[in-house]
């Protein structure tokens, strides 16, 4: 168990590609840190550098304050769970779990004891003499976990360990991994692609994009206070609604001018302190789906056209369109591209049509017309404002 510090860590390949830049991240002793980001964001490279499988080309990596840059993988005393489990196919389950101990020259009876304990923790006792190919996906996953917990490593590294499991099993294993990490208390660095996994599992989350750390913090913190458009668009499902508007401070308070009309935020609207600096500038407005409501309540209203209703008790999702420019900053496009290339196409189409998609999350029993115009209201205090040029949040 150790405190892990990435101190300006970078990875530059011989061909000049910069996979990770100036990564500064501290993982406290016993903390569950999830690194999340779209593919190619450098999260796996960071993990592999922590494991010692990838040489660190810039900066320092510290375990408990001691630099480990030059230590080889076998001397770092870390345990890793690979995406495809990487079980040794020619060994039985018990030999697989015993391998890390045997290769460190532990005594036989001590190994047997530890393997038995790890197998019991993971419910693998009756499969100990089987080969990996005779196991189900979930069981293989457990064997890989067993191989990690059988010795008390300083650091657990997990590289998308759940991505090969089906959805149901994934939920179950997610809970098991959290439980295991809490009881073992081992510092954990967990890499995933899936923001749901990140939100539910991590004590803290680090979001990366293009080799650069975007924001690190507790899941709620990231959700409520995204540092930039990328984090805002990446975290949350359904994603945060984003549209462009001009911010103006008038006598009757701040207003947002979209191509479809003017939104009066009211004289008492609690905008971020730095919003004044963006008077008469284009900003990107962010609104979480759950912060939109229907009807006559207080707050400004958006004229929206309902296109589709999805019911998923206890809530329903209203997919609507409003007349406002879709922000096409590279951060937003990057998040869309991570979903699918077609999502980028949809975004571009919206931008050409001068409209934005807006999703509202409402209780399932809210009466809603089948289609047509809707009045969506929001609380100005829940607004997120981002600088349209660099995508940074306006605080």
């Amino acid at each position: 168990m150790a405190k892990i510090q990435f101190d300006g860590v970078g990875k530059r390949y011989d061909n000049g590609a910069h996979a990770v830049r100036d990564l500064n991240l501290t993982i406290e002793d016993g903390e569950f840190m999830v690194v999340v980001g779209p593919s190619g964001c450098g999260k796996s490279t960071a993990l592999r550098m922590a494991a010692g499988l990838e040489p660190i080309t810039e900066g320092r990596l510290l375990f408990d304050g001691h630099e480990v840059n030059a230590l080889s993988a076998r001397d770092r005393d870390v345990a890793m769970v690979f995406q495809n489990y990487a079980l040794y196919p020619h060994m039985t389950v018990s030999e697989n779990i015993a391998f890390p101990l045997a290769s460190r020259g532990m005594a036989k009876d001590e190994i047997a004891q530890r393997v038995a304990r790890a197998a019991e923790t993971l419910g693998l006792t009756e499969y100990l003499s089987r080969r990996p190919k005779a196991l189900s996906g979930g069981q293989r996953q457990r064997v890989a976990m067993g191989r990690a917990i059988v010795r008390d490593p300083r650091l657990f590294l997990m590289d998308e360990p759940l991505s090969n499991l089906d959805a149901k099993l994934r939920n179950q294993m997610r809970a098991e991994i959290i439980g295991l990490q809490k009881t073992q208390g081992v510092t954990t660095l967990y890499v995933t692609h899936d923001q749901t996994e990140a939100m539910t599992m991590g004590d803290r989350i680090a979001i990366m994009r293009g080799g650069v750390l975007q924001q690190a913090g507790a899941p709620r913190d990231l959700y409520d206070h995204p540092a930039n458009l990328f984090v805002a668009a990446f975290i949350g499902s359904p994603a945060m609604n984003l549209f462009q508007a001009d911010l103006r401070f008038t006598d009757s308070g701040p207003v947002l001018v979209t191509s479809g009309g003017t939104l009066e935020l009211g004289p008492g609207a609690a905008l971020p302190a730095r919003a004044r600096d963006h008077d008469n500038r284009t900003v990107v407005v962010g609104l979480r789906p759950e912060h939109l409501s229907l009807g006559d309540g207080p707050g400004p209203s958006l004229a929206a056209t309902l296109t589709l209703t999805e019911e998923l008790p206890p809530e329903k999702l209203l997919h609507t369109l409003i007349t406002a420019e879709t922000p096409m900053t590279d951060q937003v496009v990057a998040v869309a591209a991570d979903v699918d290339a077609s999502a980028v196409g949809d975004l571009a189409q919206d931008a050409r049509a001068h409209r934005s998609r807006l999703v509202a999350r409402l209780p399932v029993d809210t009466p809603v017309p089948a289609s047509g115009p809707l009045d969506l209201r929001f609380d100005p205090a829940r607004l997120h404002l981002f600088d349209a040029r660099d995508g940074q949040v306006i605080r």
Partner: protein, 384 residues
């Protein structure tokens, strides 16, 4: 869709027919050698090996027992009776017979042959006869009987006794057999051991010049070994290895290594990277990764190369001639012995067939023992 299905099935037929043809092509000579090695020289010269499986009809000459001492008086006549088939020839049956070489199938079985002046002969199908005549007629040597005989298949292990156990120096293969084994086993094991280490290093260890080394190995694949025979022999003689087992082991090792390294490296490089990285994180040294992970997983490749190397060192004549066989003749290998047999016993097909079969028996056993490793998927279940 019909066309696609049709072309697929005709392709399948083509494959099946080619396989059947290839099997036949290989099987006929092998079975022929095998059968011939159990036949006598006479059988080989009188009929083909395929006929030996069935009862064959042939004309043979027999002679009754000599009358003196065996004849029995019957009134004023004397009778000699017995069976023309001695012990070991049971199971034969006679269809026609005769008493004169001018007409060897004059009589049917059970018919009485009149040999003039009251002398008669009766021969039954099972070979029992009764020869009857006067005192004068039943005397001297036994009567010749020409018989058309249907003989059951008849095989002998005599050839193997000649070739393996007894026999004189030129015929005896036992010693050559052991010489070949002495050459082949180390010449198979040494290159595999060296190549496995080299292949692991070339596949999974990072060091400068690795790509160049791999290129060199691939380049060596196309160098014909004949090119190296004379310089290598000169070297062996120069540094005192001379002609002998050590020399031939080294030569086979050298000639086998490029292919061995190439084959094993390509196999090892295809092993899942995650498994090896996981072993590194698990604290295994390079040597432990090699012995505990790579070697077991590479078993199919090791086995297939072992089969190749074993077969061509076993069948090798050239390298053994150059590096091993000296004038003393104590290290003659089987291939060389068979070449000599062709000279000394060129007409004795039974000896040649037996010698040939002795020399292919071991490769056959090795192949059938190891072939299942060629197709076994050891990697199933490791990833995903």
């Amino acid at each position: 869709m019909d066309n696609i299905a049709g072309s697929k099935s005709s392709l399948t037929w083509a494959v099946h027919i080619s396989v059947a043809l290839l099997v036949a092509l290989w099987l006929f000579p092998t079975v022929g050698l095998f059968v011939s090695s159990f036949r006598t020289a006479d059988q080989i010269s009188s009929s083909g090996w395929w006929a030996s499986m069935f009862a064959a009809e042939q004309n043979e000459v027999y002679r009754t027992a000599d009358p003196d001492g065996t004849r029995v008086a019957d009134g004023d006549m004397f009778v000699v009776s017995g069976n023309i088939f001695e012990a070991g020839l049971e199971g034969r049956s006679i269809s026609r017979w005769g008493t004169s070489s001018r007409d060897v199938s004059a009589y049917a079985v059970g018919e009485t042959a009149d040999m003039g002046d009251g002398e008669t002969m009766v021969l039954e199908a099972d070979g029992s006869y009764e020869w009857r005549g006067t005192d004068d007629q039943i005397s001297g040597r036994g009567q010749r009987i020409f018989a058309t005989v249907t003989a059951p298949p008849d095989f002998t292990t005599e050839n193997y006794e000649t070739v393996l156990l007894s026999g004189n120096n030129t015929d005896n293969m036992a010693k050559a057999f052991y010489s070949t084994l002495t050459v082949t086993i180390p010449a198979t094991i040494i290159p595999i051991v060296i190549a496995a280490f080299a292949a692991y290093a070339l596949a999974w260890m990072d060091f400068p010049g690795r790509a160049l080394l791999i290129a060199c190995v691939v380049g060596l694949l196309v160098v014909p070994l004949q090119l190296a025979l004379i310089p290598l022999l000169k070297l062996h003689l120069g540094i005192g290895i001379g002609k002998g087992y050590l020399g031939v082991w080294l030569a086979h090792t050298g000639f086998g290594l490029p292919l061995a390294i190439y084959l094993l490296r390509n196999y090892m490089v295809g092993l899942p990277r995650d498994i090896i990285e996981n072993a590194k994180v698990d604290g295994a040294t390079d040597f432990q990764i090699f012995t505990k992970i790579i070697l077991p997983l590479s078993f199919p490749a090791l086995a297939s190369f072992a089969i190749f190397q074993f077969l061509w060192t076993w069948n090798d004549l050239l390298v053994a001639r150059v590096f091993l066989i000296d004038s003393s003749g104590t290290t003659t290998v089987m291939t060389s012995q068979i070449v000599e047999l062709l000279g000394t016993r060129g007409g004795n097909w039974e000896i040649l067939a037996t010698a040939a079969f002795v020399s292919i028996a071991v490769p056959l056993v090795v192949f059938f023992a190891m072939q299942r490793y060629l197709v076994r998927g050891l990697l199933a279940g490791s990833v995903k």
